[in-house]
């Protein structure tokens, strides 16, 4: 536990907070987007926002793969279970996500669907080996971090001749999402001054994958670890860049991330996956070249081919402000549905789906925060 504690030291945090407060210029705003759900989680769980001066604020980005998975894909997965009687292996995060018609994997399971929660692709392979008479589908989801293990599982299934195994691929890529958010803003935006970039994802694709943020949009980006001190250190680095008027890609997470990333993992991904021309992101819409598909050579292991799965598009809920929240234009509390119709128990939009979504995190950890702090000051 030493390892983690080192990055959660309260004394260092206070020192850093002091430096940040001294460095941030009082006459300007710093609107920083933390891209990943992991960052959002750290900010709320450890109360990082409380350690920031008033003019340094965080905008919670789209970096939670569960949140951005469109409803239609869950509908697809439920259909696999209900119509094709497969054993569906899924990460636990997905189990509660609402699908169409008040359904979810949890309800499909209660209705008798054979849905199993796994912790790795290897668990799914194991289940396939144990049930040679049944079709076993792995519900693959995640950014670049979780993609190589899926690639390995596909190669392994091929090598073993595991004919009853296939993968329902929903892997998406972070750079296109980031580009979309910055583009919508029209370049160096009025709303996002700097970005705390993905850490785990960057171990795979490397920090240079985000060069366009600085080059095209003149927005500085710092690759930031998920520990609260990482978030604070990266925030300080962004503030320094913004003060100096520079926009470069910096790497705070040097203990793991390199510029080029993990070439071996990249090769593996290229061997098994190819780009989809376009893919739907919940809250962001259709994004070109933003997701991966299993290559033709492995089509027999692709559940979409094997079960002839249809593309299902579903409309986002009316009134949901996710697209604007993900771009930093609105706060969760600006949404009329926030906390009334839309709660973590009954999520309406992408940002409320997983605990790392902006609205859910705000609801669980941040709601009333300002208010109560004010109350205490008054008391």
């Amino acid at each position: 536990m030493k390892f983690v504690d080192e990055f959660r030291d309260g004394a260092i945090a206070r020192k850093l907070a002091k430096t940040i407060a001294e460095t941030a210029l009082p006459d300007r705003q710093y609107r920083l987007m933390e891209f990943c759900g992991g960052h959002t989680h750290a900010i709320f769980r450890f109360g990082v926002q409380d350690l920031m001066p008033e003019n340094v604020g965080f905008i919670h980005g789209p970096g939670c793969p569960v949140c951005v998975l469109p409803k239609g894909r869950i509908d697809n997965a439920i259909a696999l279970v209900q119509q094709h009687d497969v054993i569906l292996c899924t990460y636990a995060d997905l189990i509660r996500v609402p699908a169409s018609a008040q359904m979810s994997l949890l309800k499909a399971k209660a209705d008798g669907g054979d849905i199993r929660m796994v912790y790795s692709t290897q668990d799914a392979l194991h289940i396939a080996r144990a049930h040679p008479q049944r079709q076993v589908v792995f519900f693959a989801i995640g950014f670049e971090t979780t993609t190589p293990p899926t690639a390995i599982a596909i190669r392994q299934a091929r090598a073993e001749g595991l004919n009853n195994f296939s993968v329902f691929c929903n892997h998406v890529l972070t750079p296109p999402a980031m580009r979309t958010i910055l583009q919508a803003e029209g370049g160096a935006s009025a709303h996002i001054d700097g970005i705390l970039g993905p850490s785990h994802v960057s171990t795979i694709i490397g920090s240079q994958a985000y060069a366009f943020c600085a080059e095209t949009f003149h927005v500085p980006l710092v690759i930031a670890g998920f520990e609260p001190l990482d978030v604070m250190q990266s925030t300080l680095m962004l503030i320094r860049q913004l003060n100096a008027g520079t926009a470069i890609i910096e790497n705070e997470y040097t203990r793991v991330v390199t510029r080029a990333g993990n070439r071996k993992a990249q090769q593996l991904m290229a061997e098994v996956f190819e780009l989809r021309p376009t893919f739907e992101w919940r809250g962001l819409g259709m994004l070109a070249q933003s997701a991966l598909k299993i290559r033709h050579e492995f089509a027999d292991l692709d559940a979409e081919c094997r079960f002839n799965m249809p593309a299902i598009t579903t409309a986002d809920v009316k009134g949901c402000l996710c697209p604007a929240i993900l771009r930093g234009l609105n706060k969760p509390t600006d949404c009329k549905l926030f906390g009334t119709v839309c709660t973590p128990e009954n999520p309406m939009g992408a940002c409320m789906v997983s605990s790392e979504g902006a609205c859910a995190a705000y609801w669980s950890y941040g709601r009333f925060r300002r208010e109560t702090t004010k109350q205490e000051v008054a008391a």
């Binding site: 409380d50 990460y91 995060d93 796994v118 979780t146 669980s364 950890y365």
Partner: protein, 346 residues
């Protein structure tokens, strides 16, 4: 009394079948050779459909708890000991002295008799150690596939000593919140022993009967305001229940909450928050600030309260929020859990 069967149950090789629930000889034999054999006590040996006893004057409490758990055996306990501890704890969180337990078993066809005996023996040992006998019970058998090995429901009764008035609605602003020891041990021990979770740990469930700890606390301070054991949903959920019931808020100090490093490590790995992980041998005590030190000292003298700590205090708050000063220096809300806590992937 002569029993109407001559061949003993084959506990080593046999398994539960439908005749064991049919009301015939097989059932009588199962009850005799497994349940009565292990739980053995005077009331049970009367072979009546009910246990009868006289009770002292005063306020009686009753509580019931259904137990389903996978796996049935986990590091530090099993469904048998858990079903005894769980109900004793529910009874004694009123300040009551638990007197008797009842137990109902739903057995799944095919359950090896050896496993059943192991569970019943462990239950009997837990009840004997706690000094709270199982005095009556029931058994049913369901077809294979309609149960998960064994389900156990236990009911307990107890008597509240005069002058004790403990209830979840008694927390008042200014009160101290005391926790009896480290959190998350039970939940993480069970999770780590699920077959598809391969990380090896040394975690042990904290499953234990807390009534003697409660008795020693009441000895120093009969005017405890609230007592509750933070089981399912963990510390966070229990504190939220209490704030709502009492119409108050709470402010916790993260640094003061004991969490074992191995529990923290396993939680990190799975993306879980120990505040929401189940405990089976811990209690939360809310008392007047002036009583806190004496109570804490009494708790620390008891083996089940050795690591007790004051973890925060009750505040006035119309939103009934539980808030926490993080060790990191910020503040966060500790909310109710939405659904079940599930491991995260990224």
């Amino acid at each position: 009394m002569k029993r109407p069967y001559s061949v003993k149950l084959d506990i080593n090789n046999g398994s539960v079948n439908m005749t064991h629930g049919s009301g015939g000889r097989a059932m009588a034999q199962l009850i005799d050779e497994i349940f009565v054999h292990h739980f053995d006590n005077e009331l049970l040996r009367q072979y009546n459909d009910q246990a009868s006893f006289t009770v002292p004057d005063g306020r009686m409490v009753i509580s019931t708890d259904a137990h389903v758990i996978a796996p049935l055996f986990f590091p530090g306990g099993d469904i048998g000991s858990l079903s005894v501890h769980g109900t004793i704890n529910d009874v004694c969180m009123s300040g009551a002295l638990p007197l008797y337990l009842t137990a109902a078993f739903i057995l799944e066809e095919g359950l090896p008799l050896a496993e059943l005996e192991r569970i019943v023996a462990s239950m009997a040992a837990a009840s004997r150690q706690a000094g709270v006998p199982v005095v009556t019970g029931d058994t049913k058998v369901v077809e294979k596939g309609k149960g998960d090995g064994v389900f156990i429901t236990t009911t307990g009764i107890g008597m509240v000593p005069a002058g004790v008035n403990i209830s979840g609605d008694q927390a008042r602003p200014g009160d101290a919140i005391i926790l009896s020891g480290s959190i998350g041990d039970h939940g993480m021990a069970v999770l780590s022993s699920r077959e598809n979770l391969s990380f090896a740990t040394t975690l042990q469930s904290d499953s234990a009967a807390l009534h003697t700890l409660v008795a020693s606390m009441l000895e120093v301070t009969p005017s405890i305001h609230c007592l509750r054991d933070p089981t399912r949903g963990g510390l966070a959920t229990t504190l939220n229940e209490l704030t709502l019931q009492s119409g108050v808020g709470m402010l916790l100090d993260e640094k003061a909450i004991p969490v074992k490093p191995e529990v923290m490590g396993a939680c990190e790995l799975l993306g879980l928050d120990p505040l929401y992980v189940a405990n089976e041998g811990k209690l939360i005590c809310i008392c007047a600030a002036t009583d806190a030190d004496a109570l804490l000292a009494a708790m620390r003298k008891h083996p089940l309260g050795r690591d007790a700590a004051i973890i925060g205090h009750v505040i006035a708050d119309d939103h009934h929020l539980v808030q926490m000063q993080t060790a990191f220096g910020g503040r966060r809300i500790v909310d109710w859990l939405a659904g079940e806590q599930l491991p995260r992937i990224c």
